[in-house]
């Protein structure tokens, strides 16, 4: 499962689609089928977890005097307060 931890959501979903298709092809051995099932379930879990994370992180990009880009915290509630 650790092999999946670095995957982006898109990569994980794509791999999951491949795994489902391969398992559904019925062309794999019982042993391989079980391995695919395990991998697929792990990918499903990973994707679900990524989706269920509470909320997207929001940052503000600002260019400093020296021309470097700074990532600053951005609070949406500030936004509402300003109106």
């Amino acid at each position: 499962m650790s092999e999946h931890e670095e995957l982006s959501f898109e990569q994980a979903l794509k791999r999951l689609e491949e795994v489902v298709q391969r398992l559904e092809s019925g062309e794999t051995s019982l042993e391989e089928s079980l391995r695919l099932f395990e991998e697929g379930m792990a990918l499903k879990k990973l994707c679900t977890e990524k989706l269920e994370r509470a909320r997207a992180a929001i940052k503000k990009l600002v260019e400093s005097q020296g021309g470097t880009i700074e990532e600053q915290e951005f609070d949406v509630s500030d936004l509402s307060a300003q109106e």
Binding site: S8, F9, E10, L13, L16, E17, V19, V20, L23, E24, G26, T28, L30, E31, S33, L34, R35, L36, F37, E38, G40, M41, K44, C47, T48, K50, L51, E52, R53, A54, R55, A56, A57, I58, K59, K60, L61, V62, E63, I69, E71, F74, V76, L79, S80, Q82, E83
Partner: protein
């Protein structure tokens, strides 16, 4: 008869038709914008409007058909400065050329509109709106840039919608001015910043609704060129659904509103979760099917070559195998993958054990030659019948000479 034999003699209709053909084949006259003051404006009961456009030096008869009049978003009046768009044609009956007006704007607005159309045409000719230039948006963006005013309601809507629909996305707000003369350079600087940041895989540029003048900065030529040249796929989201700006034409995708941009830039979480659940079910179904298929193959094998001399140990093994298959299926259905894997490898081992192993150990299988049925009992075959005897490395064709019951 002509007084001047050299000169062709024409009827009035012929001459007028000639003039009409000349005027109406002219490319400039076929699509003109004319600035002038309205006078003698008359709206006929038919719905058509008749008026004159004039300035200090000249006057021009104008006609505007009912449908075009109905489409106007202002009330024309005498003395009003306007820009009229249309074509010049000839009304033969009165020997008069006139402007057939298709659209009309009050002059102030009309000039903005004219500048807009000119820039639009220019950029279009350069191929900047070419559909082939448009890049698809990423299906699952990881980092989304939002260039807009950092105080507007538009931004709050975008951020709320994206973080609700697709939490894996990382959002980067790049503040910029979105109104007034300073807006275009500010927007351009923000786009350059986004490019330099190099992590974004999609960019939303926009602002909430406002007057035509408020949104005007999105019609800036340099801004349009910067958007067109931006290596990141861009979505324009300016004003309301009915507002079109040059930025909309050069962006890869135009969103009718900032909220709509937020909805199109990310997939919907609820939909994705449902898809993931469906994948989970398909995995379980497929594995169950595969296990059942293996079990059926095994059962078929056992039924076909089932051993005539049920021997205690083999019975035990077969029973174990049945159990294992059952348990493997159950394990799979309950998602207990580890157990399922152990059981499956045990099943595989048992499968390898199979009838061949039994035959190797010296047992044999007798089948009736006529129908291949396995002979389990002396009642299954009669003396004189032909039988095939299956041993470890082949078959023996034979004939039964006698049948004796075993004494208990």
């Amino acid at each position: 008869m002509s007084f001047y034999p050299e000169t062709p003699l024409l009827s009035v209709a012929e001459l007028t038709a000639h003039i009409k053909a000349l005027i109406e084949s002219d490319e400039v006259l076929a699509d003109v914008a004319v600035r002038g003051e309205i006078s003698n404006y008359k709206l006929h009961t038919s719905g058509h409007a008749y008026f004159t456009l004039k300035d200090e030096h000249a006057a021009l008869s104008c006609v505007m058909w009912r449908l075009n009049v109905a489409a106007l978003d202002f009330q024309p009046e005498d003395g009003m400065q306007v820009i009229a768009y249309g074509r010049v044609g000839v009304y033969e009956r009165q020997g008069r050329y006139q402007l057939y007006v298709e659209d009309m704007k009050p002059a102030g607005l009309g000039e903005l509109y004219l500048a807009f159309e000119r820039l639009k045409k220019k950029l279009e000719t350069e191929g900047l709106f070419d559909p082939a230039r448009k890049r698809p948006l990423p299906r699952f963006p990881r980092a989304i840039g939002v260039i807009t005013s950092s105080t507007g309601a538009g931004l709050r809507d975008i951020l709320t919608i994206i973080s609700r629909r697709f939490p894996p996305a990382q959002l980067y707000v790049i503040p910029a001015l979105v109104q007034g003369a300073d807006a275009p350079p500010s927007l351009i600087a923000a786009i350059k910043l986004a490019e330099k940041f190099a992590k974004l895989d999609v960019l939303i540029i926009g602002r909430g609704g406002g007057s035509m003048e408020d949104l005007w900065c999105f019609n800036d030529e340099q801004l349009a060129r910067t958007i067109a040249a931006c290596p990141i796929p861009t979505i324009s989201a300016v004003g309301h659904e009915t507002d079109f700006t040059i930025a909309d034409f050069v962006a890869d995708v135009r969103a009718p509103t900032p909220s709509a941009a937020a909805e199109m830039v990310v997939p919907d979480r609820a939909e994705l979760l449902q898809r993931l659940r469906a994948y989970g079910e398909r995995l379980a179904t497929a594995l169950e099917g595969r296990a059942r298929q293996a079990e059926a193959a095994l059962q078929g094998l056992l039924a076909r070559r089932c051993l005539t001399h049920p021997e205690e140990r083999l019975d035990r093994e077969l029973q174990t195998l049945d159990e294992l298959c059952e348990r493997a299926l159950r394990a799979v259905l309950h998602g207990n993958e580890l157990r399922a894997r152990r059981l499956a490898s045990a099943s595989a081992q048992l499968l390898a054990l199979g009838p061949q192993q039994v035959l190797n150990r010296g047992y044999s299988i007798v089948r009736r030659a006529e129908d291949g049925a396995i002979v389990r009992s002396i009642k299954d075959i009669e003396p004189g019948a032909r039988a095939d005897i299956l041993v470890s490395d082949g078959e023996l064709e034979s004939q039964i000479t006698a049948v004796k019951e075993r004494r208990r």
